[in-house]
Point group: C2
Chain length 254, copies 2
């Protein structure tokens, strides 16, 4: 299959790699920044372009893997009439393509991607939505090329899914960052938390997070909570986060 | 070694099991609630007591594994003069034993424990502090019986460690709970997030959380952030948590 990829960010980087490995041909990489497009295109012998008017007419599939608000900007400059096109955004409805494409849909891999970290697509949930039944089958086949974890999720539920992923991934990672910052001030290495972080994740998967909750807020251990707030007295933002999450845990179990 | 365990909560449960497996003798379990003491004592052929005055005089070690504020209550009722005693609390200073014990210290396993989940102690960091050098060696030997990850951490740093663990474990788990709640309202199974949760944890361990951050707040993607806040409009508490963490991420990278 001949694929054109629009975007050069973390997801574009990994997705193009996964399709290339499955013997598809990446023929073009589009990015507003030609250098970014080039650094990805050279990996596949693809052409790099920064002008949407230069998009090939001959691809079997156009994958728009850009930030959410950039999707509409691309669709202002070009259309995908008589073409197959998907976007990969959690929070953008399939209807963004209305009047702008013939076979259109969403191909949303639910994972966190960073350029400098290799990742296996095998188990990543791929969430599919399509404008018609034939294209739906096309997208399911496509998703199964790279993953055995394919879901059909409509636009409304995909938004909810994306929101839940922000809590379970982006915000979780930020709490790790806060923990590291607190430790580093006392020159305690972050690695001391590694086992705890792994067990916390596995526990939530195996026994459900609502049953896995432990700690002073869960026990409503006022003395410990007070000590921790005192330790954070010079960091009002962290204190607020500590209080708000602690209170929400307490309310959840009282 | 003959061990008396004070406490019958999650940590007491797992710690007594770990020492028992290493061929130590658990001779007594104390709990304010005799039924709780009994349910643990029967596992080891130990005596269950709920009156601190009945504590044996013949143990090689007394382990106080109760909630932080209950430690002082126990020390009001009894002392450990001419005995070896530790508590297991992250946020209680070693000085709680001053005038109340001869050889005293802290034995703090940095992990999240739930009674109905088996756990290997092997890699769990055990944080040791002791009132004197001889007892320090005693505690290190003891810790090495059950783990090959032994640290010496003083009371001040242990408090910081405990605080960081609340963020990296208790609060992380609460974010998982929030994600599950949001999904369940739309009847989307929590399992769809499993791969994301695992990868988020491993990424933070392998590339440092500050470098692993992704998502709309990191990119300052105002449109997505606004959509997510709209989705949370009927849940003011979650909206506040979303805003506060999102803002803190943005400030961290701007």
């Amino acid at each position: 299959m001949k694929i054109v990829l629009l975007g050069s960010g973390n997801l574009a980087w990994h997705l193009s790699g996964a399709f290339y490995e499955m013997k598809n041909e990446i023929i073009q990489i589009y990015s507003r920044n030609i250098e970014n497009a080039t650094s990805l295109a050279v990996k596949y012998g693809a052409t790099a372009i920064s002008n949407a008017e230069l998009l090939s007419n001959n691809a079997d599939l156009y994958i728009i893997a850009v930030s959410d608000n950039a999707i509409e900007q691309i669709l202002k400059k070009t259309d995908f009439i008589n073409k197959n096109v998907v976007h990969t955004a959690g929070s953008v409805s399939i209807s963004v393509f209305n009047g702008k494409a013939t076979n259109f849909g969403v191909f949303y891999p639910l994972q966190t991607f960073s350029k400098d970290r290799a990742i296996e697509f095998n188990n990543i949930p791929i969430c599919i939505e399509a404008s018609n039944e034939v294209f739906n089958k096309f997208l399911i086949e496509l998703a199964r090329q790279i993953s055995n974890n394919v879901w059909q999720i409509n636009s409304e539920n995909r938004k909810i899914l994306h929101l839940s992923a922000v809590f379970a991934c982006n915000y979780v990672n930020h709490l790790y960052t806060i923990a590291e910052k607190i430790l580093n001030e006392k020159e305690i290495p972050f690695s001391i938390l590694h086992e705890l972080i792994k067990e916390t994740a596995y526990k939530a998967l195996e026994m459900d997070p609502i049953n896995a909750q432990t700690g002073p807020a869960r026990r409503n251990d006022i003395e410990v909570l007070k000590k921790h707030l005192d330790l954070l007295s010079s960091r009002p933002e962290l204190k607020k986060i500590y209080e708000l999450l602690g209170r929400d845990i307490y309310l959840n179990y009282s």
